[in-house]
Subunit: 141 residues, 4 copies
Amino acid sequence: MTANISCTELQVRYAETDQMGVAHHSNYIIWCEQARTDHMRNLGVSYRGLEDQGIRLAVVDAHVRYRAPARYDDLIRIRCWVRDVTSRRVVFGYALERGNDGHLLATAQTALIAVDSQHALTRIPPGVRDRMVIVPDPVRL
Amino acid sequence: MTANISCTELQVRYAETDQMGVAHHSNYIIWCEQARTDHMRNLGVSYRGLEDQGIRLAVVDAHVRYRAPARYDDLIRIRCWVRDVTSRRVVFGYALERGNDGHLLATAQTALIAVDSQHALTRIPPGVRDRMVIVPDPVRL
Amino acid sequence: MTANISCTELQVRYAETDQMGVAHHSNYIIWCEQARTDHMRNLGVSYRGLEDQGIRLAVVDAHVRYRAPARYDDLIRIRCWVRDVTSRRVVFGYALERGNDGHLLATAQTALIAVDSQHALTRIPPGVRDRMVIVPDPVRL
Amino acid sequence: MTANISCTELQVRYAETDQMGVAHHSNYIIWCEQARTDHMRNLGVSYRGLEDQGIRLAVVDAHVRYRAPARYDDLIRIRCWVRDVTSRRVVFGYALERGNDGHLLATAQTALIAVDSQHALTRIPPGVRDRMVIVPDPVRL
C-alpha cells in the first residue's frame, strides 16, 4: 500500500448496531468521513487547520454500496484515496473491509466542494490541492 | 400528490448539526429511512410487522445528492416513492425540501433487498410487493 | 397539564435501535434536548434566536433513569419542565412515557449554564430567565 | 494505573460535533459504553460472548458531569472501573480526559442490570461477577 492510499481502523460500537443485529447503514458515512480526514492528514493537510483558515469541505454527493454486514465489535479497515480533484471539488474513494479476514464489506465514494464560512463556493487552496494525489481505484467501486 | 408518493415532515435536531453549522450529511440517510417506513405504512405495509414475520429489508445501495444545507430547527419535508421493485429488491426515491419555502435540499435513492433473520437472501412477500406501486420520479434524482 | 409543562411527541427511529432490540440509551439525551427546545419555544424563548444573540446553553450535568425499554416505532411522549433557574444556570426535568398506554419509560434531568460564543460563562438574559417558570415535579425523578 | 482501571482512547469525530463547535453531550454516553466494553474485555469478559449466552447488560441509570468541552479531532482518554457489583447489578465509573494535557473533561457513572433476551431480570453469571473487581474512585465523580 502506497502513502497515497490511507488505512484507518475502527471497531464497530454497540451504539452503531440496530435491531437487525448489524451496524446501521448510516454509520458507514461517518466511518468514511473519519477515513477521509485521516487520509488528508497523511497527505499533509489538517482538516482542522483548513477550517481555521475559513475553508470547509462540504459533501455534495455520497454513494455507498453495501456488500456484507458489519457486526458489533468487528474491526473495520477502511482504505481511502483521492479519485479526482479540480480547483473546487475533490472526490474520495473508500473500500471497507473486515479486519480479521479482509472480506470486502462496502465500497463508497463522496464528492466534496470547498465553501467559505458563509457556505459560499470557493477554491480549494492550491497548496492543499497539490497534495491531493489522484490514484487509480484499488478495488472496483 | 397521489397516495403513491408519501410526505414525511421532521425538524432538524440540534444533535444533528455539526460545527459547520448545518445538519451533518449522515443524517439524511436516517431521515430517508424514516420517510421510507412512513411510505410503506401508507402503502399498507408495516415494517415492524414484516420483521415479526422474519423478513428484513437491508439497504444495499444508498446515493444522496446534497444541493443546499439544512439548518437547526428547519422543517424538512421528504417525499418518498417506489422507483422499481422486483421479487427480491426494491428501490426508493426521495426528495428532501425545506418546509417553509419548498427549496430542494437533497435527492436520494436507496436499494433494499429482502433477507431472513440469518441475513440470507429471500423474496419480498408477494402481498407486500403488490402494494409497492412504482411511480415516475417527481423530481430529477 | 399547564402551559408550564410541555409535551413533545416523537417516534422511535429504526436507526435508534440497537441489537438488544430496543432504543439505545444514548438517544434519550437527544430526545430530552428536543423536548427542552420545544419547552423553551412554548415559554416564548427561541433557542435559535438565543444563539443568534451569541448566547448558548451548554449542558453541564445529565442524569437519566431508564425504567422500561422503548422499541422501534413506539410513540414517545416527553413532558418537560423547569425545576430550577438562577442567573446563570437552569435545570430541566423530563418524564418519558410510551404514547399508547402512558407507561413511564424514563425520567431525566439536565442542568445547563449560559456561555458566550467563546464558551466563557455568562448570564441567562433576564428576559429569558423571567419566562422560565419553575414548576413542582409532576413525577418523582 | 492498575489492570482494574482500563484506559480507552478515541478521537472526536466530525459527525460528533454540533453547531456550538464542540462534541455534542450525547456522545459521552456512547464513549463511556466503548470504555466499558473495553474494561470488561480487560477483565476477561467479552460482552459479545455474554450476548451469545443470552445475557445482556441493560443501562438503568446514567449520570454525566460535563466539566470542559471536547473539540473535533481531540484525543480523549477514558478511564473506566467498577464502582460496585451485586448479583444483578453493576455500577461503572468513568473519567474522561483530554489526551494531550490530561485535562479532566467529564466524569460519569452508569448502572447496568442483567436481563435475558426477553428483557426479564436475571443474574450476572457468577464467573463474570467474580471478575468485576471493585476499585476506589480514582477521581471524585
